[in-house]
């Protein structure tokens, strides 16, 4: 057994850590306040090859492993969740369906722009009436004269409306009991993207509602065999959970960093508040949980890299880190007292950014359903 990172993984961690501190941290508060999509940062991330970490070099990605990818997402989230989810959703949700299920020709055509980060991709699964029950997709796609004619709508879709967005892969009903994944490029007539949705957190991340009205896309935009959409999206979500779990660890670590620094600096009753056992124990508990969560994420990522089944571990990691980040950010804000409730203190942003980690890519309840099913219950 070897729990050390490789020297490459360490270098990736150090690079992303430095980038997050030096490039993201100074603008995170402003991006959040103005709910502005960080297009300049995405361009810089693209330049460094961070928009396609696990995608093969053949298609312009970095050819990195899942462990490296998870580390990068953790380090970004430690500083800012909006930037991290932009990378994670583009990679795990937007690019991955094409990478996993696209034909060689589709990959040659679409992946180079996506893996290099010149363009962004989204994945549209959720609908107004199909959330946790994602199989209840109502959007339809009907094959007419060599085109899929799409009708329906999608809800809460990340990265769908940025100035860099190329398109979206959607799940659609292509028959009575049949779901398929179909690519819709931006600018296709009949495809409409709402204005940015206003949110509690992840404010600088782009979230949209999509509508399709007799939107005709080429027949060749079908990903993989017709009718495979259900299995395909489950597979996408399994992998995506690793990156959201890495976000849970990163958010918790970021909250810990802030609380630790504050506990050393703030004095009350003539002492650093970190010297009070009630505060020190909070930090100790946080440190323990974060370490446990990080190990769960590493394990899931490592299993995936070994080509072994990882869905159970990914769900466990997603559930555990979602809940641990909730506990940690709550205590971290508590340690800040009233200052933590103020917009000027980054912990308040982390507090708002945390909640979605227990909802997106499967709620806590859905993770428990997945885990119970794996346990044969």
């Amino acid at each position: 057994m070897d729990l050390d990172l490789t020297s490459e993984q360490e270098l990736i961690r150090d690079t992303v850590r430095a980038f997050a501190r030096e490039r993201v941290a100074p603008v995170a508060e402003e991006l959040d306040r103005e709910a502005r999509f960080p297009v300049e940062l995405v361009r810089e991330l693209a330049e460094l090859g961070l928009m396609g970490i696990p995608i093969s070099e053949r298609y312009g990605g970095a050819g990195g492993d899942t462990v490296s990818y998870a580390i990068a997402i953790e380090e970004l989230t430690r500083i800012d969740s909006s930037v991290a989810i932009t990378v994670a959703a583009h990679t795990s949700l937007g690019t991955m369906p094409i990478n996993l299920f696209g034909s060689d020709e589709q990959k040659e055509r679409w992946l180079p722009d996506l893996a290099s980060g010149r363009k962004l991709a989204a994945f549209g699964l959720t609908e107004p009436d199909a959330g946790s029950d994602a199989g209840a997709t109502r959007t339809t796609a009907e094959l007419r004269d060599g085109s899929w004619v799409v009708n329906g709508s999608k809800m809460f879709i990340t990265n769908a409306g940025t100035e860099l967005t190329w398109g979206v892969t959607i799940t659609a009903r292509t028959g009575e009991d049949e779901i398929s994944n179909i690519v819709v490029e931006n600018g296709t007539p009949g495809y409409e993207i709402s204005g940015p949705l206003h949110k509690l957190g992840w404010k600088a991340s782009d979230t949209r509602e999509l509508t399709f009205a007799d939107c005709a896309v080429p027949e060749g935009n079908l990903l993989g065999p017709r009718g495979e959409g259900f299995h395909q999206f489950l597979e996408i979500l399994d992998g995506g959970r690793i990156s959201v779990a890495a976000m849970g660890v990163g958010l918790a670590q970021g909250a810990y960093d802030l609380a630790d620094a504050y506990a050393r600096e703030r004095r009350q009753f003539g002492k650093q508040i970190g010297k009070f056992q009630a505060v020190a124990f909070k930090l100790a508990d946080m440190a323990v949980e974060i370490e446990a969560g990080r190990q769960l994420v590493s394990k899931a990522a490592w299993l995936k890299d070994q080509g072994r089944p990882f869905a159970l571990e990914a769900a466990m990691a997603k559930l555990y880190t979602g809940e641990l980040s909730h506990r940690v950010v709550n205590q971290a804000l508590q340690i800040h007292g009233g200052y933590g409730f103020m917009d000027e203190f980054p912990i308040s942003r982390l507090y708002r950014d945390q909640k979605i980690l227990e909802i997106g890519e499967g709620t806590n309840e859905v993770q428990r359903m997945v885990i119970a099913k794996h346990l044969g219950l």
Partner: protein, 258 residues
């Protein structure tokens, strides 16, 4: 043009530095990183290579694990790395370190040797001068701007009062300041590609360095004792109740500092 960059692995900025009381040496067991201004030196070397062609070789004297830090320079774009590592070199002072590096550089015969201005651990800001002297080459330090044209370098050297502009013929030695450039982040592609670049770890014998001229044997410095700096006695603590600025001024005036 052949450029050699001398770099040092130092304790990471987050590591609490301590001297080992038994060896009197800095405890280097914690996480290591490339010395900050050495990143500027690497960056400058890469820019010069990209403008003039040639290669960038990274050279260091240090423990075996220093290679992890050299790999960062390779990930940034340097072509190859040479680490001189040998148990007999431990405990080298300035005299010994400069001898080892000058000997290794003598074999490489670079047109330009770049250094960082100073290390963040020992903080001597002098090694480049010793190396240049041993190599009998011109040397410019504290360089904030560097150009090379037809075998001559021109360095803009930061001073207290402005800039000195100094020209020197190649081959030469230059120490760069952190004002010279903004070091790039290694790209993922660079990081993944670094492992296939030549990385040599060589012993003193391989590098042609006489063992008795380095390490404790070759050092002219003897550290007799180490002790923490004495606690500052003359401290005044002010709580800011709105009058802190006034009190600071009063205090400084009282000490005749203003």
């Amino acid at each position: 043009m052949k450029i050699a960059v001398c770099v040092k692995q130092v304790p990471d900025a987050t590591v609490h530095k301590r001297l080992d009381p038994s060896t009197h040496r800095l405890d280097r067991s914690g996480e290591g990183a490339l010395n900050p201004t050495d990143l500027n030196a690497v960056e400058e070397a890469l820019r010069l290579r990209d403008a003039h062609g040639g290669e960038v070789a990274i050279l260091s004297l240090g423990p075996e694990r220093a290679m992890d830090s050299l790999r960062k320079a390779l990930a940034m774009g340097a072509d190859r790395a040479v680490l001189v590592s040998d148990a007999a070199a431990a405990g080298s002072d300035l005299v010994a370190t400069s001898h080892a590096l000058a000997t290794a550089l003598g074999r490489e015969e670079p047109d330009l040797v770049l250094f960082g201005q100073q290390s963040s651990d020992a903080d001597g800001a002098v090694l480049w001068a010793a190396v240049a002297d041993r190599l009998r080459r011109p040397m410019v330090s504290q360089v904030a701007e560097l150009t090379i044209e037809g075998g001559t370098l021109t360095g803009k050297r930061q001073t207290e009062f402005g800039y000195d502009v100094i020209s020197a013929p190649l081959p030469a030695v230059v120490a760069v300041s952190d004002a010279i450039n903004e070091p790039r982040y290694p790209s993922l592609k660079g990081i993944m590609g670094a492992k296939s670049k030549p990385q040599e770890t060589v012993s003193l014998a391989d590098a042609g360095i006489e063992a008795d001229r380095v390490g404790e044997a070759g050092s002219k410095t003897t550290v007799r004792a180490v002790a923490p700096p004495p606690a500052k006695s003359d401290q005044v603590k002010l709580e800011d109740d709105g009058s802190a600025a006034e009190k600071i001024v009063e205090y400084l005036a009282e000490k005749r500092l203003i």
